[in-house]
Symmetry: C2
Subunit: 265 residues, 2 copies
């Protein structure tokens, strides 16, 4: 499973301020710490600064690739203009996600050509203008809708990561189960799956515990990528244990190394 | 998922000594603490005392039902004589497991009639005289072999809990994955599944972490019962989070209660 670090997100006041003030050491440190904790991709969201989003995005990407040339990035923006600026400036050696499209024509029309031209992976939310599906079957139907549009332009389905969209179990108790059921159904269509983790535990105490257990379950169900806080020791311990359990860390070499480095709960 | 507390096991020196000395307060306390921590069944193993196993078993069952009349028990013995003594003395209001049979004729011949007569649940290890299967398919074949013999005497398959047998990932990296794959395959035959949890982490550091993540995965895969240490806060926190996530704890009422009582990590 690919780990995408979520911390450079302008909905966090500190990040918003750092972007506004062009505080490159803050942004570089956030990138560095996430990579050190096990992230392979750095999500970059500059959407809610008061500044010019494409300009902010270009700056943030340049800071991050200056800090870690091998880091993959995940360009998290509603604006195809900001996405294009990020793609143009990124010269790093990692891979790139665009985050995200939905089944809506307007976003697909603008973003898909960029994903094709730059050879990126693409996160697609299993929703359209009418909202989010409630059932696993609804998530599958939404995936088919997206896939049809994506295939029409010859984009490789293996580079599509469908996000089945998790909702808080505190208010919608059946949604985690529907999400988990949907993963193998969606993957049977030849695409991959991704999710933003933390929403599942919204409104509950011990959120890290819920997040860690849910991620363990989703990993077992086949989830291919997760957007999360890699500085959450509880969650990253679960990732490391899950890799060992799912035969992605032969003879637990990485797990034991993490233990020795004090990285496990 | 049913939680079976594993602590009253004569392989533990303290328990062995308590059985030998007829220390009923020690055994009662072990039962009480496990029930308080969330176990619904108490496993009782008197197999490696130096005394008379049927006699020891009868004593231990009487102590436990004296302590908690509503507790289910899990009679863990290689001896059908000890199992029969336990069944005769147990007057509690909980349900009963017999732990365990294998595909071997000798054990089935002696234990199945007892399970039928007393209406117990029955744990069946997915193995025979030739040893344990390596693959998920091998575990399925072993289940079919057991099921054929069990059906012949009219025992209800829904009361059979197949244990696919987990082995340490430290020495056999692919075994956890095969175990997890086997759960839905085995359940498709109309039986249930169970496992002894802790073996998976043998030889590794932070065993509770591996156990908790593996149990989360197995729960998601459909595991129906687990034999574990309910005093392991890490593992029981995962059980509570898993119940909330799998819609077995509507609106997370039990989860929030456990948090308030300081029971979550």
């Amino acid at each position: 499973m690919l780990i995408i670090g979520e911390r450079i997100n302008s909905t966090r006041p500190q990040v918003r301020e750092a972007i506004r003030a062009r505080n490159s050491s803050f942004i570089a440190k956030e990138a560095h710490e996430q990579l050190k904790s096990g992230a392979e991709f750095i999500d970059i969201n500059c959407a809610v600064t008061s500044g010019d989003e494409p300009e902010d995005m270009e700056w943030a990407v340049s800071v991050i690739q200056g800090e870690a040339n091998s880091a993959g990035i995940c360009i998290d923006s509603p604006s195809h203009l900001a996405i294009e600026r990020a793609l143009k400036i990124y010269k790093g050696k990692g891979q790139v996600f665009i985050n995200s499209i939905t089944a809506e024509d307007e976003r697909i029309k603008h973003i898909l050509p960029l994903a094709s031209r730059y050879g990126t992976k693409l996160i697609a939310l299993a929703m359209d203008g009418s909202g989010m599906p409630d059932s696993a079957e609804g998530r599958l139907e939404m995936t088919k809708k997206i896939l049809e549009k994506v295939k029409r332009v010859g984009f490789n389905p293996e580079d599509i990561y469908i996000d089945p969209l998790i909702r808080p179990i505190s208010t919608e108790p059946a949604q985690a189960k529907e999400f988990l059921h949907s993963i193998p159904m969606i993957k049977s269509l030849g695409v991959k799956t991704a999710c933003g983790l933390s929403n599942v535990s919204f409104g509950l105490p011990s959120r890290s515990l819920i997040n860690a257990v849910f991620l363990s379950m989703a990993y077992q169900a086949g989830l291919d990528a997760a957007i999360l806080d890699p500085l959450d020791k509880h969650v990253m311990s679960a990732v490391r244990a899950a890799k060992a359990l799912l035969s992605e860390d032969d003879y637990c070499v990485e797990y034991i190394k993490a233990y020795r480095n004090g990285k496990l709960v």
